[in-house]
Amino acid sequence: MMLWYKAWRESRDRFLLSAVTIAALCVGFVVFHRQGAEISDRPLTYLEYIWRIVYKGYLRELFVLLALLLGIGGLLRERDHGTAGFTLALPVSRPHLVLVRAATGLLEIAVLSLLPALVIPALSPLVGQFYPWSQSIQFAILWTAGGAFIFVIGFVASNVFGGEYTAPIAAFLGLLLYSVIVDLPFLEHYPLDIHDMMSGVGMPYFKSSVATLAGPLPWAELAIIFLIVISLVALAGRIAEHQDF
């Protein structure tokens, strides 16, 4: 149990900062929705505005970045800080350490994904608007899966690269490379782009004319993403097992 506490304490500041930022931005986007909607070249409905600015736009991009940063940490980072010896002397296996840290991070991602889903529908009536809970909950599910995928990129990078800045830079470059590859013309038609999957852009379950999720969520694809995440966490455990500290 105390390993969970350790993992939480190590990511707590980053998580809370991320949560406050996301929540504050959601509040800002809802409260100042009139000014925000005016920026567009044509009048936007409230649903369109929220989708553009939150689920497709700035907030999703910020969420991706925060998910990547939440993945940073682990034994190599502890080695840089000098605490790896203390941790590794505990009667705990390295895969167990890796697993607990990954699970903590994934739970934090799920909470961050839920924040817009809670804040936006709850606040909207206060500004005379309505945003359906069903929409926001479905987006939260998509964001949890997408965030988990992004998180695990940072997580694996952290288990491979030591140094204070190497892992975040490697993770960012990894994400950039992935984003470029899935945007290649011959791959564009496959549902490989996690960013599109999170926003719904070009997806059969998204109706762009009204900016709402209209069809059933892609449960098979979501399951595959979680399988990939689990596999990459297991890979990180194997990598950690073979490292020298």
Partner: protein, 298 residues
């Protein structure tokens, strides 16, 4: 108390590329005593300790600690339940308070000794609500010792425990190690500080360039090692003194200085038969033995 082998390595080797940090190390450490692991900086002490604790994987060779293989991750993990480790830099989780770190550590050891914890907390004057990052290195060492000793480990391994400490803290540390050994804990500590090893260790293993170059009980060393200084009327060839028990021969004009590690009486008899004009015999300290051994190994 009967003494059994608690650490044993067989041809333990660690290579980093072409650099051999530890080279075919055959180390034996017996229980219920304090063993000093002496060596220069970079001699391979920390790498050896890390291999014993499973932090670093051996390139070749094997080792057993408390009857558990260090090469097998599962056995190594089981072994760590009974082994406490205090690392060189004594870095602990900076974001936790002393109390949180104690609570965290004790959760891994069901046989945690609350009486020892409370006694050491009082003795060391550790502030429970202070964050670890706000502790001095001396205080961090005390906290690391508290975390290690409150488990009543069968084996306590320390890597350069006195590094960076002031003389008062070093003294408190050495007293703590003596007390732990008196309580039945086997203490194995690395150091390059000869004086502190000589002060508390009963046995010493000297490592140089990754190789074990000496493994001796300090009592035996004090009893067997002698410096014999002979004065002659004329220069003597070194070859005359190459006999069993002489570890080192130094000649300077008509003076010959022998470092004997055994057989001192027979050597003296031989020396007398060469009719020297003067004979001086003196006991040898660990410092001299260490310096001669390390010099010789080069």
């Amino acid at each position: 108390m009967s003494s059994t082998c608690i650490i044993e390595t067989h041809e333990l080797t660690k290579r980093y590329g072409s650099f051999e940090a530890v080279c075919s190390l055959n180390l034996r450490v017996n229980s219920h005593r304090i063993t000093g692991f002496l060596g220069r900086n970079g001699a391979g002490k920390s790498t050896t300790i890390k291999m014993l604790l499973g932090m670093t994987h051996p390139t070749a060779g094997a080792g057993v600690v408390l009857g558990k293989s260090i090469n097998n991750p599962k056995e190594n993990r089981e072994m760590r339940r009974e082994v406490a480790y205090v690392g060189e830099d004594k870095q602990l989780y900076a974001y936790m308070t002393v109390q949180q770190l104690i609570r965290f550590t004790k959760s891994f050891y069901p046989d945690w000794q609350r009486d020892v914890e409370h006694r050491l907390l009082q003795q060391y004057g550790l502030p429970l609500d202070r964050k670890v990052k706000a502790l001095s290195k001396g205080m961090r060492t005390k906290l690391a010792l508290l975390l290690a000793l409150s488990r009543r480990p069968a084996l306590l391994i320390l890597d350069e425990p006195s590094e960076g400490l002031d003389p008062v803290s070093i003294e408190e540390l050495l007293q703590a190690l003596i007390a732990a050994a008196a309580d039945g804990t086997t203490v194995f500590f690395s150091s390059h500080q000869i004086a502190e090893v000589e002060r508390i260790a009963e046995h010493v293993c000297i490592i140089d360039r990754g190789k074990l170059v000496m493994d001796v009980s300090l009592d035996d060393m004090r009893q067997d090692y002698r410096r014999i200084t002979l004065g002659f009327t004329q220069e003597q060839p070194r070859e005359k003194f190459r006999i069993q028990g002489i570890q080192q021969i130094q000649t300077s004009g008509r003076q010959v200085v022998l470092l004997a590690n055994q057989n001192a009486d027979a050597i003296l008899e031989l020396a007398r038969s060469m009719e020297p004009v003067s004979i001086d015999i003196s006991a040898v300290g660990l410092r001299e033995v260490f310096l001669e051994t390390v010099k010789e190994a080069r």
